[in-house]
Symmetry: C2
Subunit: 351 residues, 2 copies
Amino acid sequence: MQEQLEYQEGRTEISHMGKVALIERLTADMEQRNASTVMGVGDDCAVIEGSPLTLVNTQTLVEGVNFDMMYTPLKHLGYKAVAVALSNIAAMNGTPHQVLVSVAVSNRYSVEALDELYAGVRLCCERYDVDLVGGETGTSRAGMVITVTAIGGVEPGKITYRHGAGLHDLVCCSGDLGSAYAGLLVLEREKVTYQANPDFQPDLAGYDYVLERFLKPEPRLDIVKLLAEKGVVPTSMIDISKGLADSVLHLCRASRCGCEVYEEHLPIDYQTSRVCSEMSKNMLPVSCALNGGEDYELLFTVSQKDYDKIKDLQEIHIIGHVTEEGMPAVMVTPQNTTITLRAQAFQGVDE
Amino acid sequence: MQEQLEYQEGRTEISHMGKVALIERLTADMEQRNASTVMGVGDDCAVIEGSPLTLVNTQTLVEGVNFDMMYTPLKHLGYKAVAVALSNIAAMNGTPHQVLVSVAVSNRYSVEALDELYAGVRLCCERYDVDLVGGETGTSRAGMVITVTAIGGVEPGKITYRHGAGLHDLVCCSGDLGSAYAGLLVLEREKVTYQANPDFQPDLAGYDYVLERFLKPEPRLDIVKLLAEKGVVPTSMIDISKGLADSVLHLCRASRCGCEVYEEHLPIDYQTSRVCSEMSKNMLPVSCALNGGEDYELLFTVSQKDYDKIKDLQEIHIIGHVTEEGMPAVMVTPQNTTITLRAQAFQGVDE
């Protein structure tokens, strides 16, 4: 009788293994026994047979890891927890219908605190016409743990996977990139100042856009709708939760292709650039776009033949194109230098 | 900028509010907007339209609250986390098809520890022909948090809710009651001895049944199958996760009825009785059955007309009958004393 955590020999630290490699190791060689299982581990959602297909995903947010109670209003947190799960439905080109929300809290939290959290959950559900259909409240020893399971649907002819990108397809993204990370940088800066001097009143004026991007992200279900209206089915899609580089690499790996994206075409908001210049001369806005997390924008590829249908859409940016299998995923700078993309999401609040 | 956890006035402690009242408060007046939502919060699973109907539920287990690493082998833990979620599918008279498993761990855990955990997850999936279709690994500041989402199906004519029990229906349960709690008592006793003297080698011989009941419970999908074979659709059903009393009260409340169960008909294993007698003369086996948690047996009601179909089934026990709305849920002792049931699940590892 004793904890079985320490192995004398051959202990491998989780930190020495990437998350993707780890989940692949843990789920390797799992046989699918049910005919109804269309897609298992390895995409933004599991896919279950039906017409429409059923999409399911689970997201867990842990206090101190995925959020910091020092600057996260509970209502925003509830909203964000749901939004993040809905973003995974959007990434399959689907429409969310239901969520289950489970919360484990320590006795630091009051019933009124949970009321606030659930006010955010409700707001996000109402905003996206989603039903809260289940969940539970439980106890945690330290901090809050929120798990959201989102369920949605998509017609079989419209589902988009990470795999499916074809040679010469256009690489597109929605919205702008790096702004959520810029918001986090501002909050972390104010937190440090506040901790040094509790009388300090943070002045967050002028940062409202980047703060909202971090604290209250929106799943891009409007993009799913817009693409449907324009008659465009992306050839592949993923959401951008850990920076553009990470998502591009996932897409290329699943689709067995390379990719070129153009630095000058990356959409970056002026507030993001301003925050970067305030932080340090070494903090480049493009780094926030590539490696800052939590934008929850969509990255997708479309066939060249759909170019005319998307070229004038304000919220969609054509940032590159798909290259052959065996080619790397790269960013081309305005000086025509080629930088190989690496997944090196910043270690922010989100690990 | 500061944590919004403490309200100067009107702070209500979560511990002062029952879990049921809390989740009802948090989800009150939620309008269902999606036609596909058949059943939202308030039963063992959410129910989503289709033929078969889709069943979904989420279960979170938190280290130090729902399990103690001191005596929980990781493989058993992985098995149990899945089993608990599948038990909720069984409680709707359904068949599970898929699970998503998310794990958040601190750096105390190695990759090999997660291998062990997932070996248990796989074993339970294989045992019940369920596909592992998703999930993620994440970071936790303290201890392990496991979330399992189970997805299943049931024909519309066969689904069982907590509501639906009719007057004079027979109240039944599967297996035996209180044995998981007896297993927990043994483990806690050995833990105390071990902590006092780390050279102590616990002797668990002779307790194998109750230990297995606690460490590696089985969802009663065999009962679902058996009832189908016998052509019996229960009028109401729930699983027994927090003691018989808690489940009976849930059933009566949802079905708007009272209930009489007979102490002498409660199925209690001899090992459970033996453990109780070892622990204290005040620890009655019937208390374990009523208030000990984690048996994951099924409690259900069947129409009197189905009596002949179930009366000879070894794994099913007729323990009482449904009484009128307005009547309490009571246990009748062999001395013909009537004891009103109260939900007072023991505070074990499971809160």
